[in-house]
Symmetry: C2
Subunit: 211 residues, 2 copies
């Protein structure tokens, strides 16, 4: 074997090795991208029993007359809310849905750090769950600075954004045409986390005592 051939073989080997590393990076990149959740839910949702979502035992038996074992937009939304293991930041204009309130209370009882921001006017209307959450010891702040705090978003564990047109009410879930985006896309999640922290800090009750 000539020296030139040896050089060529070694060179090709180096190229093959570096390209293999690039390929590995590409494969890992693709796997990571595939895992990034991007989901859209539309409402009104079909009505089904969601009792199993609140039970530790996934095979819970419920004898209510609603359809069982059916995945609907609402059960999917509830599942993602209930997936919180460390924190739930919730910023919602109107909150009167009992199942969603029950989900927040369940997470609170499990030690998940909950922060709830709501609109001052709408938190006081009949059926609002804001008072219920407050009484249960959930941290709640109401915005009085703007005409309306009209957001409807939640951030689960600082990584999952749930946002859209849907207020957390029964009418929104069962009667209106609404949409919800559920995404882990950092470029979308991070600005919402920043926005939440800003509104949360602006509505610190300690600030109003100082004024």
């Amino acid at each position: 074997m000539s020296l030139m051939w040896s050089v060529k073989v070694v060179g090709l080997g180096v190229v093959a090795l570096s390209l293999s590393l690039e390929l590995l990076g590409w494969v890992f990149g693709r796997c990571r991208r595939r895992r990034t959740l991007n989901k859209v839910l539309f409402f009104p949702s079909k009505v089904s029993c969601v009792e199993h979502l609140f039970s530790e035992n996934s095979a819970c038996s419920c004898f209510c007359p609603l359809p069982h074992g059916v995945e609907t937009s609402f059960s999917c939304l509830l599942r993602h809310i209930l997936s919180a293991s460390s924190s739930l930041d919730l910023c919602v204009f109107s909150f009167s849905n009992m199942d969603m309130s029950r989900a927040v209370l369940l997470l609170h009882s499990k030690g998940v750090t909950i922060r709830v921001l709501s609109d001052k006017d709408y938190s006081a209307i009949t059926g609002s769950q804001i008072g219920v959450l407050r009484k249960a010891g959930v941290c709640v702040r109401c915005d009085a600075g703007s005409v309306h705090m009209h957001h409807k978003f939640a951030v689960v564990d600082g990584r999952l954004l749930i946002t859209g047109s849907l207020n957390w009410t029964l009418t929104a879930v069962q009667s209106n045409m609404e949409n919800i985006i559920i995404t882990e896309e950092a470029k979308l999640v991070q600005p919402f986390i920043k926005e939440f922290n800003q509104i949360w800090a602006l509505n610190d009750p300690a600030l109003s005592y100082k004024r």
Copy 2:
């Protein structure tokens, strides 16, 4: 040179070539991913002059008392709406913002195919721009099937989704706390296109004549 060495060299060459192709694909993939727009806008927006966005001449002179040359959430939103070159599908609960109406009319005058879906009740309130658009010849359909058609989204050229909590009103833009996501992420855009087409078809006036 032995036969075995030739086989090794050719084999390594093939590996290097295939990996180079993978690398090229990876580079193109990364470039494409980088270009995928994912943006979040928050409101209320600062108020600034948006006259230049409606002018063919980018250096248009406006002498109104509002700040000029300032990029705000609203000017950014308007810019993305006005970027439509072939179609704009708009599905919005409440539409009374004059600048946004002007943008839709400008696109219509340029030959962009516009379809507007709105809520039946809210399209009839004082200040609604739905009648103005209809009179100008824009295709408008109002949903009467649900309690409220509460969506607030637009799809530009079948590729760009604009969605969030913001109704197309002056209060939403200048006074409320609101959010808008602007994204080209296909997994988010495509379901909204499908949803729009379904609601559009469901509210075809020809269907109500047949009923």
